[in-house]
Symmetry: C2
Subunit: 228 residues, 2 copies
Amino acid sequence: MSKPAKSDLSSTAEDYVKAIWSAREWGGEPTSITALAERFGTTRATVSETIKRLTARGLVTHEPYKEIALTPTGELEALLMVRRHRLLETFLVTTLGYGWDEVHDEAESLEHAASTRMIDRIDDVLGHPDHDPHGDPIPSRDGVIRHPASAVSLAEAAPGDYCIVRISDSDSDRLVYFDEQGLLPRSPINVQSQDDRAGTTTVVTAHGNLVALAGDATRAIMLVPTPH
Amino acid sequence: MSKPAKSDLSSTAEDYVKAIWSAREWGGEPTSITALAERFGTTRATVSETIKRLTARGLVTHEPYKEIALTPTGELEALLMVRRHRLLETFLVTTLGYGWDEVHDEAESLEHAASTRMIDRIDDVLGHPDHDPHGDPIPSRDGVIRHPASAVSLAEAAPGDYCIVRISDSDSDRLVYFDEQGLLPRSPINVQSQDDRAGTTTVVTAHGNLVALAGDATRAIMLVPTPH
DNA sequence: CTCAAGAGTTAGCATCGGCTAACATTTGAG
DNA sequence: CTCAAATGTTAGCCGATGCTAACTCTTGAG
């Protein structure tokens, strides 16, 4: 039944390479066994075994107690999964009227089932979009992604910075809050003040709203310098 | 990861109840272990075990060597899967430009992954269609399907019958052939002659084409009497 | 009516993904 | 520098799904 939609990886393998890749996307540290266990709601033992299997399949390199990294094959698979995920999110928003805070879980399921043909048709129908609804760049069909070199977390921004927003798609509640504040992906904001001790940043949105952010919220927002 | 999109059935269970239901849709005999094994490209042993598990889960009734039938629960699950499948097929054709001969396999994958929310949104976007691209009726969200009572296989049609076509979606090559002949789902045809010995039926299509059909092809087409 | 072919089942095995419990290694607080 | 906490691994178990081989039951050709 249901032929392998694309690669011959199990959906577990697909999820793992994507998670390993994603950890580093915005300048983050490599993942750990523990972090993956939390991410997938499973135990360290299970993750350790799964990583061993992925290593045997040539997707991952991992020496006990050392860094978990992707092989070139693993990285390509990860980028193709990221492509599927982001194109599906964009499609759900533009075609089925999903809110940008609702698409993540749906795309997470569909990315394992949709064929490459379907992903490419979606890409065509959408007119080859550069970004998904959260402002994240979409890799090409051969796994090339174009990341703004100097993107920086809002936590590290300086007052006066004038940038474009990119927002992590994984926390739906936070997305709803940002939405209410007029903090939308790819919309310009202006950094007003930065309080390192309190970990608080104040920004002015395109709508002129003054929004104060703290903690995780400042790390969920990436600032991409505007060309002008 | 990726939460259970809808029911708590495994995709194997979903495939089996759908296959068991489908065998009887157009007046066919109940399936057999062997037929299911062929359908799913697996062994009789595996099917026998799977059916035992489905029986234990209350989806199927089966005494060794007897008929395989669905319980009411199993039948509802089957109808909901058929609904997902047919709505997805319709969506792929109208929104992503798939040909009606290309949609079957894609829908077969997606029907396990799409959430109920997504299926219902598709239903809305399509304006609650009655039929999929092959002319098959689409069950409602509570599992009610409206089948023409007197539908009959082309093999049993009488000359002079004037009917609407419904074509099995599972054989892509045959669909391409039908397409070339102007034999399209829900288009009217007129039965010209019927040769029982040769198993051949000749029909006139809406375009005026004279098409001769034999063997499986005559069984793949169901004739639905036109009201007028 | 018989019996071999075909259909279905059972036994025994493998893999995957998951678990707990126990053990090993690394690291950072004091 | 030490040692306890945190992190990672291994061993041994389980259930789901799949296989092959061998068995049993049913049925139809002769």
